[in-house]
Amino acid sequence: MSGRQRKGRLGRALIYALLVVLALFALGPLVTLVFDALKTNAAIGANPLTPPTSPRLSNFATAWTQGDFSVTMRNSVIICLGTMLGVCLIAGLAAYALSQFDLPGENGVIAYLFLGTALPVQLFLVPLFFLWTKLHLTNNLLGLIIIFWATESPFATLLLRSYLLKIPKEFVEAARLDGASEVRSLFRVLLPLAWPGLMTIALISGLFAWNEFFFSITFIFQPGLRPIATSFLAFQDQNSTDWGLTSAAALFMVVPALLLFLGVQRRFVSGLTAGGLR
């Protein structure tokens, strides 16, 4: 074995060792959730960071009924799907216009979208709340979904636009010259090519809608309509926080998001990176 090879192998081992350290840093804190969900409060009190000695599942059953997860999870699934579909449609149409046409004032639109993403929520929260109250859109899942459409679509459009810019215009031009209508060329030619980009914005907006809590606690206060984040927060608001139950509740919130992400992660990452963020 030459010296150079040995050095290369040592370097490789070091790289993997460092990667494992980073992986533990990323995942370790979340693993304590799983540990604590399987422990009694006495065991958590003794040490919240170690694996359970006698794991038990009762926390999950208690947390499920106490948190009313059957209701809040259903609400969140509706909010999540509604947001994903709406954002894909709104941002899809807009990104199509911004990428496939020679649009005068394109820079103005992009500046507008950038501003739309950059404005802090607290700036428009109070007037929006009054508007929503007048329109009877508080305590209304659609009312919340519409807010998410508005806040998520600008960034989704910017991302999808960059993705669509990579698709050669000749494809759509050719379809148009063949006499295909605008709508047909959109659905038949562009949509299949844009699929990873669309999946990416669907996932980003879906994860946002699933994990969101601030708009949810502000605009929805009727128990039967609350989304999953409020179920989880309820466990923390109680004066004596029960960590076993809280951890189980956290897993109810984390696992669906994680499954959604793992299911499409290859496409997600490629869409994210081939798009606006490089």
Partner: protein
């Protein structure tokens, strides 16, 4: 793996020549049609975000409490915000936040991406693991770290037992000297993996022959990183640095969940100050003035963004 980033202008001479040769009615329709596709986005955004934000301009010049009627008081709220020590403190915290948020997760993300770029086996596995904290809800991440860093039996206590001085039984989120940094740490932890994935993709877009040439010239890992990798991903770095300014001004949810600006304003940033002024102090007019003053910085970033683009920066 690389693509045109957000905001690259397109020039399509062929399309315009086609449009010019068409009869006027067709030409007009062609010009209107793309705007039809943009209409849903613009309308809904006007309705939910921009419209209420403009209403805020009016409220910022009133003494509105959030309910009932409002009296016009001109620029008094802005003058008050300018002199308010709480606003200054909050702005300073935003500045500290920005300095940390620009360096810590970026450095970790670059480091992680570089390590990932050096391997083939298990690359996807590690990439996925790094990304998971980004997928997890902020409310959950906040709770997890409150548990881990709790002063009675958290990791600080465990490390204290191992002989590391100064962190045993420290209430990281409850002490004025730690709170801001502790929350920032949680946000950095949740964010760096996202950056690592994006940097990795940018690195994979660099021409491999550049590295080969550097190796032939005898350049080591560090020099290759300095002189090939960093310049190669520069557009991504610049774009994310700009976005970091915006994100640092907007930062809200983790601070709101974990400390709500406390203890005693030690982790107060502009957005939490604004929220507390509007909803617990009932100074909605004043909160609006603070918020709009802050948007001024966002406009500056926006101008910077378009300035860099005009100068040919590919961002």
């Amino acid at each position: 793996m690389t693509g045109p980033p957000v905001g690259t202008a397109t020039v399509e001479p062929q399309a315009s020549t086609v449009a010019d040769s068409a009869p006027p009615a067709v030409r007009r329709r062609r010009r209107v049609r793309p705007w039809l596709f943009l209409l849903p986005l613009i309308l809904i955004n006007l309705f939910v975000v921009i419209g209420p934000s403009i209403a805020t301009v009016y409220y910022s010049m009133t003494n509105w409490t959030g309910i009932g009627s409002a009296k016009f008081i001109g620029f008094a709220n802005y003058r008050r915000a300018f002199d308010d020590p709480n606003v200054r403190q909050a702005l300073l915290h935003n500045l500290i936040w920005f300095a940390l948020f620009l360096t810590v997760p970026m450095a970790l993300g670059l480091f992680g991406a570089y390590l990932l770029s050096q391997i083939r086996r298990y690359q996807i596995l590690f990439r996925t693991i790094f990304f998971i904290p980004y997928v997890t809800a902020s409310v959950v991440n906040a709770a997890v770290w409150q548990n881990i860093l709790n002063p009675t039996n958290g990791i600080g206590v465990a490390l204290g037992h191992l002989g590391i001085p100064g962190i045993g039984h420290v209430s990281f989120f409850g002490s004025p000297s730690w709170a801001l940094y502790a929350v920032n740490f949680v946000v950095d932890w949740h964010w760096w993996g996202f950056l690592a994935v994006i940097f990795l993709a940018a690195m994979q877009g660099i021409d491999p022959s550049l590295y080969e040439a550097a190796r032939v010239d005898g350049a080591g890992r560090w020099r290759q990183f300095r002189h090939i990798t960093i310049p190669g991903i520069q557009p991504t770095l610049v774009f994310l640095a700009l976005m970091t300014i915006v994100w640092s001004l907007k930062v809200f949810d983790y601070i709101y969940i974990i400390t709500n600006g406390g203890p005693g304003g030690a982790s107060q940033v502009v957005s939490t100050l604004m929220y507390n002024e509007a909803f617990t102090q009932f100074n909605a007019g004043y909160a609006a003035a603070i918020g709009l003053s802050m948007s001024f910085f966002i406009v500056i970033v926006l101008i910077g963004y378009f300035y860099l683009r005009k100068r040919g920066s590919k961002i």
